[in-house]
Amino acid sequence: MFENLSDKLQRVFKNLRGEGKLTSENMDVALREIRVALLEADVHFKVVKQFIESVRTQAMGEEVLTALSPTQQVVKIVKEELVKILGTSHVRLRTASEPPTVVMIVGLQGSGKTTSTGKLAKLLSKEGFRPLLVSVDVYRPAARKQLSVLAHSIGIPIYEGPAEDAAQPVALARGARREAHQAGRDLILVDTAGRLHIDEELMRELGELKTLLNPSEILFVADAMTGQDAVKSADEFHKQLGITGVILTKMDGDARGGAALSIRQVTGQPLKYVGVGEKVDALEAFHPERVASRILGMGDVLSFIEKVESAIDRQDAEKMQRKLIENDFTLEDFRDQLKQVRKLGSLESLLGMMPQVGILKDLKNVKTDEKELTRVVAIIDSMTASERDNHMIINGARRRRIAKGSGTTVQDVNQLLKQYTQARKMMKSFTGGLPGHLGKRLSKMKLPSLENLLRG
């Protein structure tokens, strides 16, 4: 894909080490690379221009810190500047002084409004709100049905309205407000139809809804993959409606999300949430640091750490460690461990989150064999409980049965058993030589936190 900005700057500054200052000549070359990186990330042309100018002013004449290479220094300046523009981290939802608080979700077609509405309802209900959903998208076929299916799946009430209102956005909105009052809901999330910012009639409809509902928040949903047009649509929505925040969707792909910078710059409104997956809980608070790293193509270590921590149960990990030390590590434990690794997602996507600098750079060329993992899990799944508990009983006949059951060959089963016994043996040599009480003490030691391990 794109060459990393750090790599490019590394080349630019190859000969700079030793010189005392960032000069206008070497900065010019560096700024050109930064410009290309930002344009490739879909930041708008004019926003890039402004940005480059402010970085130039910042960087010019600054002493090269001894601790940092010129590359690191420039990246640091660029990143700090990006974070500054992207805004402070999570800005809380504005609420009405008198409930219910109304939040309108607006945006272009296909940006992810309905999905985001469902996710936001789930997130806010966890924060203690009692949301009521309503879809006023009377245009797209089955759009209201879509929100209704989502609402049922997350167990949050939705106002469906009488059949005669099925084509009346304003009537639906009014009904929802009445319903919220009666049912004591303190938050109404209004999913609106996707529309082009140049569609006067539909933009007028949004204005009417705004007047009627007096929303505390109007959240503009923007697709992270949006290109240069992001400034136009965001600007137009903001001018006509006065948006109060942005939800950036589809950030689980590999788009660099430069649109975030453009939208922020042109509307001045904060980015509030980021959509990171297809599941209903895949909506996160916005972190400017992360998006800045991403725009620069520098990986996202924090997201990686969070992902590891959320997927791996600490208690399980400690239990596993004890088992390893007491040499009580069965095939079943082996499988559980593999499954935990898989929960993190594909190995390649994990590697993609790592910053691609230094030693880690070569990691991106590692071909990870996902199928191998699946095969091993299938083989262990095909064993009986007693076989998993004690691999010694697995004789030729059992091996044939296991191979058949898992769709593999006897050779595959043999290989797995060999790897497993080798691993056990290796662990034994680590702990077995220790006097009994020391081994036991080791097993009670606390695991260093994953975060420290990764940072270390």
């Binding site: 490739e40 272009l108 759009a143 049905k145 209704s148 697709d223 792909g253 788009a255 430069g258 996902e370």
Partner: protein, 304 residues
Amino acid sequence: MSLLDRLKAGIQKTRAGLVSSIEDVISGRKEIDAELLDELEYSLITADIGVRTAADILESIRQRVDRHLVGDASEIRALIRQHLLDVLQASDQPPRRAAEPPTVIMVVGVNGAGKTTTVGKLAYRLRDQGHGVLLCAADTFRAAAIEQLEVWAERNSVDIIRQKSGADPSAVVFDSLQAARARRADYVLVDTAGRLHTKDNLMAELEKMRRTAARVVPDAPHEVLLVLDATTGQNGLEQARRFTESSGVTGIVLTKLDGTAKGGVVVAITRELGLPIRYIGVGEQIDDLLPFEPEKFIESLFEN
């Protein structure tokens, strides 16, 4: 309205953007200088053509200027037009059709690109041409996606094969193709779930659907159309690359061209991957899907 008029009307805004800015740049100036080239770069990049492709185009112009082949700023328009046309025509090729019906067309893309709407409009086109069409609701994942396609089936009065939400999409493909053979349908349009191209398991699911289709109808799917939202930026290229790898994309449908987005990334896509653009979506009406014709497309872009 004639086809050309509708095409023009639909991409009026696109035109207004790209053309007017190029016209602005060119009008009232005779000399070609660095400033002019900078402004041209602005027009190309803000059309999402991409910083590399824009640089290539400008480089070829710069070379001609240096060799004194272009003396007048007004010639630049013709040059850019020719360059874009060359790129788009290079990948033009006729669509594949089955020797013996049904022809199977699979529609793929990221979430929210407009796949279901495209399937609905394409069904209308094919019906209008007198073909028997059958829709296959293989998006069993997104809430109410099947219902959305059912509405389109009703509007077009064509058959739809569906299963329960959450069913294996390959199973729906299998059923649909069998039904299409039994009912002697000419075309099967397979609506798939939106997926990000970075999700390996979901991309593998597309491969499986392809294999399943080929088991029922030899050579199926005959066409795999990647639906691309015109607002998409440089990520569009990566999308096209990954979808082509896993599902063998044979053409592009560029949607939402009725907005202000210019969809310039398709130039980079056709240039790098040689994929033809089959249709463009220019509105929300059932007949707002038009065949893409490189010459007419660029003609409309540069017409006054």
